[in-house]
Amino acid sequence: MPLLESLKVLHAVRTDRQVVVPTMGAAREWMTLGIHPLDLVYAPSAMGQAPLLGLGIAIAQPDRQVIVMNGDGCMLMNLGCLVTITAAAPRNFVLIVCDNAVYEVTGQQLTAAAEPARPGALPVDYCQIARGSGFREVHEFDRLEAWKSAVGGVVAARGPTFVVLKVEPVTGGAVPKSPAPAPQRAIDFAKALQST
């Protein structure tokens, strides 16, 4: 499904108390929908660390749901974080992996998990990895209508929750740019987080 359309589905149900931490292609597209004070657009990023950033927020703010939107390349860079997350058992945490099977922002090179990059090998199943890492809720959607029908329940469920969205690469999708100086955004985000 198209990445932006899949993000619009989440955007439509997102509440004013929820934190959203998007990174890579998801960050770039999410910003086109407008920026909420509780969005922490993770650009610039340390690739692979977005779920941990979100975990820290979720632990510090247990009454507030935190939704992280990660890329599949980012996920592969730090699969161990899935175990770190479930060890902390954050019921207010949702990790969405936008899986397009390529490193989109560098020119759509295949990830090691992409089927064409694995001739003769068995496929990689992110959901199985998440289940094996101890996630309570695990979902995968490859059709927009199915994602639309399920998103409310998926986000409302007790976490930690893991979701794979099978999305298409965005042609020419560039590296997301910080929408404002990052240190000031961090300060503004912390104020919004701690005052609302």
């Binding site: 340390a46 950033l53 820290g56 632990i59 510090a60 770190t84 060890a87 912390a190």
Partner: protein, 160 residues
């Protein structure tokens, strides 16, 4: 040798709420004390780079986190600490086990590269290599927090 109860007393004095850690054999002896203290939560990571991102999230959420890892984990942490401290300006603080620093006859590249690594990042640090120096931890942490600067305390350790 600094004991678990001693380090916990110091961390409580500093107002630390969360310790994000991956232990070595010295720091690891503090696990019981760190994990059983009211008001202090121990968060275990799988790789040290994760600790900085979690600590950043905790800080933004209003907590007072501390990263606790070995110097080898500092080497692993590069991109994550770069992003949190230098891209976002989050003044994180870390206690880092300084492997082999108390045994100068040891051939250990972990010791060789620890201080140059911190200097290359421009990270200020203090060395606590005896229990009597432990109060320097809180003093240094407080000065870093007051000036919104990151900081590191290296804990002296014997030969690996």
């Amino acid at each position: 040798m600094i004991t678990g109860p001693e380090i916990v007393t110091e961390l409580k004095r500093m107002g630390i709420t969360h310790v994000v850690w991956l232990p070595d054999s010295t720091l690891g002896q503090w696990e019981q004390a760190l994990s059983s203290t009211n008001g202090l939560r121990l968060i275990r990571v799988c790789r040290e780079g994760e600790a900085w991102a979690i600590a950043m999230g905790l800080h933004l959420g209003g907590a007072r986190p501390l990263v606790m890892i070995q110097c080898t984990g500092l080497f692993e942490s590069g991109d994550s600490l770069r992003n949190a401290i230098f891209d976002y300006g989050v003044p994180l603080f870390a206690v880092i086990g300084y492997r082999s620093s108390l045994n100068l006859s040891a051939t250990d590249s972990a010791r060789t590269f620890t201080e140059p690594n911190l200097k290359s990042w421009g990270l200020d640090y203090r060395i606590v290599d005896a229990p009597v120096k432990l109060p320097e931890l809180a003093a240094y942490y407080n000065s870093c927090q007051a000036s919104r600067r990151p900081g590191v305390v290296l804990i002296g350790e014997g030969k690996m």
